[in-house]
Amino acid sequence: MSKAKDLNEMKDWLIKRISTSLKVKNGMDPDAPFSKYGLQSIDAVILAMEIEEEVGVELPPTLLWEYNTVNECASYLVKIGSDIAA
């Protein structure tokens, strides 16, 4: 990620990123738990590691367990991004 994203940009980016990985066809509900789209426990940790490499910020391995919807996860990532920007 080249620059800090705002919340809406982050939500859009996450929906695109996660729906590609999980092959979600009909759009993601930003308030639905990731398990609705087939993401379980270990695969969620691996996806979090892939996201970590892409955003360039250290993330907890259980990111997608702790913040288990697009909205929760986007808010957390923006907060982390802001912290780093400051």
Partner: protein, 585 residues
């Protein structure tokens, strides 16, 4: 017991324990074959055996030194379990539920750890792991058991079944949902002292009649609005799944030691028969087919020994990779040994089917008892699934850290002391590539540069180097398939992915054999160090697990393997890399 508590090496520990337990063929000894037959036939809980094990202070091996026990390394603990299992797998499994204490050693508070150490060693306490539910099997996240917050703790409601030692045991590790909306963070783990619970609020399901382990207490437990104290929570609220998955890494690898013990006995009792029984004017062992089955079984045990020991040492050296090593060990070792035992049955002929006669009918009992290992603590399917989810990520991490070479000696050289274990370093998924697979090239280069130090024939070293190259190629083929693959998730994986995961485990097994020999070959001038078993072992893995036929190599190695097998049998030594001396009185 002091001798055992202060044993310096793994082999010393094995031999001290063996000497203490004696020859299992002697009915007077604890955990003898005669005793094993009795508890199997009567389906009675092995009470006398378990009491003897506690009275002999063996629970100490499961408790870390800092809490007064003698646990230092998983490879030592694996030896204890193998020695017990070689006598009676049922008693070994019943006693070894103590390994669930690693949940507390990993996630507990100091007070919880001190209490548990005292409970295990002084009060001879035992425990069960209450995760599974009748309707959900291995799907832990789907738990219907609920723990609701109350003013002074929690109230648990739900049923756990089938659970080993749910009834005959005082402590219960229970996984329950504390927040139904929180997904994987909604589960919490509790360590419950049953003596402190209201007996009206919990009950046990009856013992289940099983195929093997017939003396075991495989039953279940039911909680009905059962109040439990806040201090019984292990880790924080919502930490349950994370702790459970870490605990499984440890116990899955230790389960392989149960298989190794059972496999040793299955081969030993079959060999005793083959060395004495005459058919067509020949001893059975001299019949070509029987000889082939026996030498193949010996190779299988050596292979599984290398895989298990490296897996157990990995927890100390590369806990970042343990999610891989544990699943590989838990898939590969039990399934290989269960097949090996089944293969041996043809050598025994009709006696394989008898619950008496040759050596107390031990073979059929081992066959039934050992069959549970690939099933419990995460079945074959669960372990292969855990691996396949990581393939793409692992293939992409290849070479990210090129320092495997520094770690290989520490993982595989059995004379190197491993670092102290730290459960908090266990990763849920591997954050590094697999050192065993990534390190093959390094170990082969190391062999080339130090070949003069080896006791092996130079031609044998050339054969090993050539086979090592073949292995590297197969590893490259595997990684090549996954580096550009799609992200895998969920439980609906294809049958082809399961086959790929099985091949991956076989590659890891081959690499483990290669590294084990390369990093230990100068330690002595034994059969192991001469290295003539290694190429046949690699060939057996390629042949049986990768479908690359190696008949010539396997057939040519048979006389040498049989000679060593007969020698180990005659000298009463374990069919293993260390060839430890076994109890003889």
């Amino acid at each position: 017991m002091n001798q055992i508590a202060t044993a310096v090496t793994k082999t010393t520990l094995t031999e001290a324990l063996e000497s203490q337990l004696g020859d299992p063929k002697n009915p007077e000894n604890p955990l003898s074959f005669a005793y094993s037959r009795k508890i199997d036939e009567t389906e009675q809980f092995p009470e006398e055996a378990i009491r003897w094990l506690y009275d002999s202070q063996l629970a100490r091996h499961y408790v870390p030194e800092e809490f007064g026990g003698s646990f230092r390394s998983f490879s030592e603990l694996g030896e204890v379990i193998r020695v017990l299992s070689r006598r009676d797998a049922s008693s070994a499994v019943t006693f070894s539920t103590l390994f669930w204490s690693f949940l507390t050693w990993t996630g507990g508070t100091d007070a919880q750890k001190r209490w548990l150490a005292d409970y295990m060693m002084k009060r001879h306490g035992a425990m069960c792991l209450a995760y599974s539910e009748r309707d959900h099997g291995a799907d832990l996240a789907a738990s219907d058991t609920v723990a609701r917050r109350t003013a002074d703790g929690f109230e648990i409601t739900g049923e756990k079944w089938p659970i080993n030692r749910a009834t005959v045991g005082g402590l219960c590790f229970v996984l329950a949902t504390t927040d139904p909306s929180a997904g994987p963070r909604g589960l919490s783990l509790f360590m419950l002292d049953k003596s402190k619970l209201d007996p009206k609020r919990y009950s046990n399901f009856p013992k289940i009649l099983t195929h093997g382990m017939r003396g075991s207490d495989i039953s279940g437990i039911k909680f009905e609005h059962c109040p439990v104290p806040a201090q019984s929570l292990l880790g924080g609220e919502g930490d349950g799944l994370q702790l459970a998955l870490r605990g499984f890494q440890i116990t899955r690898a230790l389960c392989a030691a149960i298989s190794l013990g059972a496999g040793d006995t299955a081969l030993r009792t079959t060999l005793s028969f083959a060395l004495n029984r005459k058919l067509y004017d020949e001893l059975v062992i001299d019949l070509p087919h029987a000889a082939g089955v026996l030498s193949d079984a010996f190779l299988d045990l050596l292979i599984c020994d290398c895989v298990t020991n490296a897996g157990l040492r990995s927890f100390h050296v590369v806990p970042e990779q343990s999610s891989l090593w544990a699943s590989i060990v838990k898939y590969f070792v039990p399934t290989t040994i269960e097949t090996m035992i089944q293969n041996l049955s043809v050598v025994l002929g009709a006696r394989y089917y008898m619950r008496e006669e040759h050596e107390f009918g031990t073979f059929q009992r081992v066959l039934r008892d050992a069959a549970v290992v690939s099933l419990f603590d995460g079945s074959t399917v669960v372990n292969l699934h855990a691996l396949m989810l990581q393939f793409r990520h692992l293939a992409r991490r290849r070479g990210v850290r090129g320092d495997q070479g520094l770690r290989l000696g520490q993982i595989f050289d059995v004379n190197k002391t491993v670092p102290a274990w730290n459960g908090r370093r266990l990763s849920l998924v591997s954050t590094q590539a697999n050192d065993a697979l990534e390190g093959v090239e390094y170990s082969l280069e190391h062999l080339k540069s130090t070949r003069a130090e080896s006791t092996a024939d130079p031609a044998e070293i050339d054969r090993i180097l050539a086979f090592g190259k073949k292995l590297m190629l197969e590893i490259q083929v595997h990684n090549g398939k996954f580096v550009e693959s799609e992200f895998e998730h969920g439980h609906l994986q294809s049958a082809a992915m399961f086959r790929a995961a099985q091949r991956y485990c076989a590659l890891h097994a081959a690499a483990s054999c290669l590294h084990t020999w390369i990093w230990n070959r100068t330690n002595n001038s034994s059969f192991f160090a001469r290295g003539a078993w290694l190429v046949p072992a690699l060939a057996r893995i390629f042949d049986k697990h990768l479908g690359i036929h190696q008949d010539d190599v396997i057939d040519a190695s048979q006389p040498d393997l049989l000679q060593e097998l007969r020698k180990l049998h005659r000298d009463n030594r374990m069919f293993s890399v260390s060839a430890a001396a076994l109890g003889s009185n």
